[in-house]
């Protein structure tokens, strides 16, 4: 019986000592979906991923992962999940081939030798298969890690900041591959800090201080934030303008993008009223679309006010 949701959890909570790292998070991820997980450092993203694949035990909450009970069937889940850790976690003193072979043996991959050879071919690393893994560059390590986590044909792929420290070209290739995987029916849950990557996800969730603040498609998130945004063009490197804008009624955040400042606020009318006098001074003030980044910064600031 096919299960509609690859991940369906409620009230997931994790505490380390008296610190609540993940607080009553509910999440539903459909099969074949690329789900982006965003949030500042230390917001509980990694902890949440670890709970999904049985590396950590939730203190409260329940749910299913690939139709298996999160708390009881961690063995079954582990076999069907590919987990790519934030820190490279294969053996640097093994060769590429030995690492892949080790993983293939542990998961009992059928036709092991062929699978490993095939994997090396796809990576384009066939000639370097006898090379020690520790000698690879960051980008190659990341590709190897992805290949290794796919070796046992998982149904769900958990990627923890997979592209941190990887150059733009490699990042683009990486995301192309993620989309191919999703097209082949694999569910992907990926954490990231990059806006362009967030925009390539089908749906997104924003986590801060252990709380799930918003979830949905990019458009839904922008709409849900209820922000009005204006673009103000000032002179380059004018910190005084930023400070002045922040002081105006209705202005909730000012984000510089080069010479342009994005000014956002929840109360559209008040914001427009406050910005009107600037036009008289000869500054270019025009309405803008609220970007995902504006929304996330807004969410993060609100979280800071509420939970700190």
């Amino acid at each position: 019986m096919p299960v509609e949701f690859a991940i369906d959890v409620q009230d997931i909570t994790k505490r380390f000592g008296d610190r609540t790292v993940v607080n009553r998070v509910a999440l539903q991820v459909r099969r074949g979906e690329i789900y982006g997980f965003l949030g500042p450092n230390g917001s509980g993203k990694t902890t949440f991923l670890r709970m999904l694949c049985g590396l950590l035990t939730p203190d409260a909450g329940s749910g299913t992962c690939l139709g298996f009970d999160l708390l009881r069937d961690s063995g079954q889940i582990k076999r069907r999940v590919g987990y790519m850790t934030q820190r490279f976690s294969y053996y640097e003193d093994l060769t590429l081939e030995e690492n892949l072979d080790f993983v293939a043996r542990i998961y009992g991959v059928p036709n092991r030798r062929a699978a490993v050879a095939d994997c090396l071919d796809k990576l384009g690393l066939r000639d370097r298969r006898r090379q020690l893994t520790g000698e690879l560059s960051g980008g190659w390590k990341q590709r190897l890690a992805l290949a290794a986590s796919l070796l046992h044909h998982p149904e769900l792929l958990l990627l923890d900041e997979p592209t941190a420290g990887v150059d733009p070209k490699a990042r683009r290739d990486f995301w192309d591959e993620v989309h191919q995987l999703a097209a082949a029916g694999i569910t992907v849950l990926v954490t990231t800090h990059y806006m362009d990557e967030a925009e390539r996800c089908h749906r997104l969730a924003y986590l801060a201080y252990g709380e799930l603040l918003a979830a949905g498609t990019a458009a839904e998130l922008v709409r849900g934030a209820g922000l009005a945004t204006w673009r103000v063009r000032g002179e380059t490197g004018s910190p005084a303008l930023g400070a002045r804008l922040r002081g105006l009624p209705g202005v909730e955040q000012v984000v510089p993008f080069g010479a342009v400042l994005h000014v956002s606020g929840s109360a559209a009318a008040l914001l427009e009223h406050s910005l009107a006098p600037l036009r008289v001074e000869g500054l270019a003030v025009e309405p803008a679309e609220t970007s995902l980044e504006d929304v996330f910064i807004h969410l993060m600031q609100r979280a800071k006010d509420n939970y700190r």
Partner: protein
Amino acid sequence: MSERFSIARLAAMVLKEFIQMRRDRLTFGMMVGIPLLQLILFGFAINSDPKHLPTVVQDNDRGVFARDLVWGLKNSGYFELRGSATDNRQVRRLLDQGECSFVLTIPADFTRTLLRGERPQVLLEADATDPAATANAVAAVNQLIERALERDFTGPTRSLKRAAPAVDLRIHPLYNPEAVTQYNIVPGLMGVVLTMTLVIITAVALTRERERGTMENLLATPLRPVEVMLGKIVPYILVGYVQVTLILLAAKFLFDVPMRGSLVLLYTVSLLFIAANLMVGVTFSTLARTQLQAVQMAFFFFLPSILLSGFMFPFRGMPVWAQWIGEALPLTHFLRNIRGVLLKGNGWGESLPHLWPVALFLTVMLVLGLVRYRRTLD
């Protein structure tokens, strides 16, 4: 957990460990180098036959017989005269301070008693803190005295020449009642070397996975704790066997240690002991957070093992509480077995009483390790 133990996964783990062991040249070199180095250092240092041991004579008789007796001892090369003492307190002080290894006391009535046809008492006090140092001299002394006096028993005193010893020699090995012979050392060293190298090697094994971040990956796979643990142990059993073989070869060809028992029994006895030590290391590494902590724990295990197992000090010379601790250590039982098999030619029957405590220890450690093994990163 619904999953069962999988030989295939264990094999994957074992294979990986073998490859990593091969790559880690330094550690691999140590596994072979340490036994040889220790054997040569310990073996030759302890096995030497010390001569010219400082001796003080308290001659209260000053007769010809007494003088000849003293000279007889001196000529053997074992005893070197370092002057004479006059009273008991001075004698004891010299021994206490380690100024001399022996004090020979000849009673005032030595000549008289001897001529009367009786056996005068002669007291040899030995500093036996390092029994190996004095053992040979002590073993030789009776004969030396007889031979020295025999030459004097000519002419009018020929009648004193008898089958029974002319002198009643009393030896007081001070500070350490049991003398360890040199053959004890090399087999004992086998146990010590195995303990020192194997505990460390596995103690570091799991903590290294944690420190390098590879543990996160291992835990996310279907590998079961027992598979990980056995996977860490099996490759090093072979390493242990290499060490045992090296030491046996050295014992035979360098130190002429007799090998009376069966080699099959010896390797079986060793197997349990090797596994027990490796398991201690694995258990330590489930307790330790870092590699350094694991190494420190290993050292905490070495100290009682070396001091209380009967390797360093005679087991029966230890206080009862220390003996109880010693009985709990696998090295104690291994030493008894290995010495028994090598020197006395013991068989299975004599070895079993010291085999099951090691097996019990191994089981306890395995259970402790499995209980402590963190299945999650919690």
